[in-house]
């Protein structure tokens, strides 16, 4: 099982909190606090968690849009070379930026309002000199058609499109540089449900066509279930459970995953929801609880949970769980 394309080890990102005129550091927001994950080539890894758990920070740190506080990120290039992204300079990263691209959450703020679709989509081609001048237009045409837009849309400005169409422009822009890995940061959360399905199907089709690998960040469990091969669940800057999609959804091993799954709405009027209501709020990432970070809200909490932070443990089949009682607990997944 050594066909990983990206590997992250003990990734940490602490944002300092500065106060006063002299910017004294009074504390840290521990947005990402020791994340380990890997993505295999050609698969989709879904990263789920509630707002503020650090999903987006993980994504942006992997792309080095934010510099990590600690930890290592490796990337395997097309030729099989292993590069440590976390120690490269921005200049050295530039060729990698062609291979690793990003799709943004909000299609309204991620497209420059002053650029035409042509300018937007051709920008990565120009930055990386991927096509001679005369061929850029043809290339943009092909890309637009690949994402379901028309070639004559090229001269228009972003404001002339709907949210779904804009997101397609964003996808075309990401594809423009022939990437291998695409980081999709909540690509459908800003869209209407009916449009979400279209965009998800498009992403799936493109994955097959261009042999892409996705890191798919979302807070929507059903969306992640639909698109992902493997799923990682994040809570307060840590990954609490990761495994194949069906294992996570049908046989969760972490109480937090169980609670999340119980909250998925079912399209069945006779379904009696058996929701697990978590106590209290998500603790602040500024001073997270000692021990297991989920302990103040967990219904199965024991003494050990308050003292020791559990590590990710292998449960077989690539299913890893960070819980002291992962073997004992019988947890419910989703019921159809």
């Amino acid at each position: 099982m050594d066909n990983w394309i990206l590997k992250v080890e003990n990734l940490k990102k602490y944002f300092p909190i500065e106060r006063g005129f002299f910017k004294k550091v009074v504390g840290y927001v521990k947005a990402v606090d020791g994340v380990n994950l890997f993505i295999n080539e050609g698969e989709t890894l879904g990263l789920v968690g509630e707002s503020g758990c650090g999903k987006t920070t993980v994504g942006r740190t992997i792309l080095r849009l934010i510099d990590p506080t600690d930890g290592r990120i490796w990337y395997k290039t097309e030729k099989g070379e292993t590069l440590e992204i976390s120690s490269l300079t921005q200049e050295e990263l530039k060729p990698l930026r062609r291979e690793m691209r990003m799709i943004f959450q909000d299609p309204y703020t991620s497209l420059d309002p002053r650029s035409t679709v042509m300018d937007l989509v051709s920008e990565p081609i120009k930055i990386h000199n991927l096509a001679p001048r005369g061929e850029i237009e043809d290339r943009v045409k092909t890309l637009l058609e690949a994402v379901g837009l028309k070639a004559q849309h090229m001269r228009r400005y972003p404001y002339e499109f709907s949210g779904g169409q804009r997101q397609r422009i964003g996808i075309a822009r990401a594809l423009a540089s022939n990437p291998r890995l695409i980081l999709a940061d909540e690509p459908v959360s800003a869209l209407d449900v009916s449009v979400q399905a279209q965009v998800l199907n498009l992403l799936e089709d493109l994955q097959k066509e261009f042999n892409l690998t996705y890191l798919f960040i979302s807070h929507d469990l059903s969306v992640v279930q639909y698109i992902s091969n493997r799923v990682a669940v994040m809570y307060l800057g840590k990954i609490v459970e990761v495994g194949r999609g069906k294992d996570i959804y049908l046989k969760p091993k972490h109480p937090y995953t169980e609670a999340l799954l119980s909250a998925i709405p079912m399209p069945d009027p006779h379904y009696k929801p058996n929701r697990i209501l978590l106590k209290g709020d998500v603790p602040s990432p500024i001073n997270a609880p000692i021990g297991c970070k989920f302990n103040p809200r967990c219904q199965y909490v024991e003494d050990i949970c308050i003292q020791e932070d559990p590590e990710l443990e292998d449960m077989g089949n690539g299913h890893y769980v960070a819980c002291h009682f992962s073997k004992e607990l019988e947890l419910k997944g989703i019921v159809y």
């Binding site: 991620s110 930055i127 400005y157």
Partner: protein
């Protein structure tokens, strides 16, 4: 009907450029259109000043000192109506009791106003001519705004003065905008030490009392310099004092754009700082920059007038509105020869015009925001 629909479609397909959108919403603002017309008019009047002035504005005449504006008549002193408007020459008299000068209309001869007459020679942009929009037959004179202390035609002097006043304001704003945008962009985009240095120097510049600073700077200009050198130095002084405001506004804009996703998207694609600044940040600030440009022009017109009024700006024989206002410095002048205040009217008019225009542009400059 169907035909119209098809046309609409093709137009939508093409996509409107930014300036088309701006023009579309600009047209809707009536004050902005009025402002634009005023500016255009003043511009044409001052560029073609000699064409619009019947008398040579450099020609002095001791017999016409402080001559009041001549009235345009249609009915002569006998009560006869003339289809063509005419003026009477003014004759200088001395009041037998107060010994003050009095101008009386010499009703013995009528001077009809004629259009496109040949008169004194001039050259505009290298074209020599003696054609004037209007004038009177030789022997007569027509001073619609009166004359000044040396008997020079005030109308002509106001028009030619507009050239310098508008030019200095325009160049001053352009230089202001260039310095301001560069400083603001560096400050906002790079942050840290450059930001610190620029912001502190702005604070120092702005903490000087304005008038004494202007005066000190302009007093430092050698009196022996040619008018052109003085003009260039004035432009530099004005923009040197004016850029901080613009730099701060641009910095704010850049700061807010810098963190937005569409800029992150370019960084993520591997775009350089230069690409981000010149292809994305500046175009997005452009509307703002244009508005600041139109708003800072009237400020500079006023600045120039103030300095020239105090005798520190443009030096005669160069004429600007501020220089013309020098004639209105003494209270005695204002009482007896109120027409020397007419340049003031032009200053007010141009300031209002630019403000109207700037207001309309500010609303129009962001056509995407209303959607």
């Amino acid at each position: 009907m169907i035909r119209k629909k098809v046309e609409n479609l093709t137009e939508a397909e093409r996509g409107k450029t930014y300036f088309q959108l701006v023009w579309r919403s600009f047209k809707k603002s009536r004050t902005a259109i009025i402002g634009g017309i005023i500016i255009l008019l003043l511009f044409v009047l001052s560029v073609f000043a000699p064409f619009f002035s019947p008398h040579d504005y450099y020609e002095t005449d001791p017999d016409k000192v402080y001559q009041p504006p001549q009235r345009i008549h249609l009915v002569d002193h006998n009560g006869r109506f003339h289809w063509r408007p005419f003026v009477y020459n003014l004759r200088l008299d001395v009041d037998p009791f107060t010994y003050s000068r009095i101008y009386r209309e010499d009703t013995s001869k009528i001077y009809h106003i004629r259009f496109f007459v040949r008169g004194w020679e001039y050259s505009i942009l290298g074209i020599h001519s003696n054609l004037h929009l209007f004038g009177v037959d030789s022997g007569g004179s027509i001073h619609l705004f009166g004359t000044d202390l040396q008997g020079r035609d005030l109308l002509g002097r106001i028009l030619i003065g507009g050239r310098i006043s508008l030019l200095i304001a325009f160049f001053g704003s352009v230089v202001t905008v260039i310095i301001g945008s560069i400083m603001g962009t560096i400050s906002g985009y790079y942050g840290g030490t450059p930001d610190m240095i620029i912001q502190r120097s702005i604070e120092i510049l702005q903490s000087f009392p304005q008038l004494p600073l202007w005066m000190a700077l302009s007093a430092a200009l050698p009196k022996t310099w040619s008018s052109l050198n003085i003009f260039i130095m004035m432009v530099i002084i004005f923009s040197f004092l004016n850029w901080p405001m613009l730099a701060r506004e641009i910095r704010g804009k850049i700061l807010s754009y810098r963190e937005q996703d569409f800029i992150t998207a370019i960084k993520e694609a591997g775009g350089s700082d230069a690409r981000i600044i010149f292809l994305h940040l500046i175009p997005n600030c452009l509307s703002h920059i244009i508005v600041v440009l139109t708003i800072s022009i009237p400020e500079l017109i006023l600045m120039e007038s103030t300095l020239s009024f105090l005798g520190l700006g443009i030096q005669p024989p160069m004429v600007s509105w501020g220089v013309l206002m020098q004639g209105a410095q003494r209270i005695e002048t204002l009482g007896q020869h109120p027409w020397v205040m007419i340049p003031c009217l032009f200053i007010v008019l141009s300031v209002l015009g630019f403000n109207f225009l700037g207001d309309g542009l500010r609303d129009a400059a962001d056509p995407y925001s209303k959607r």
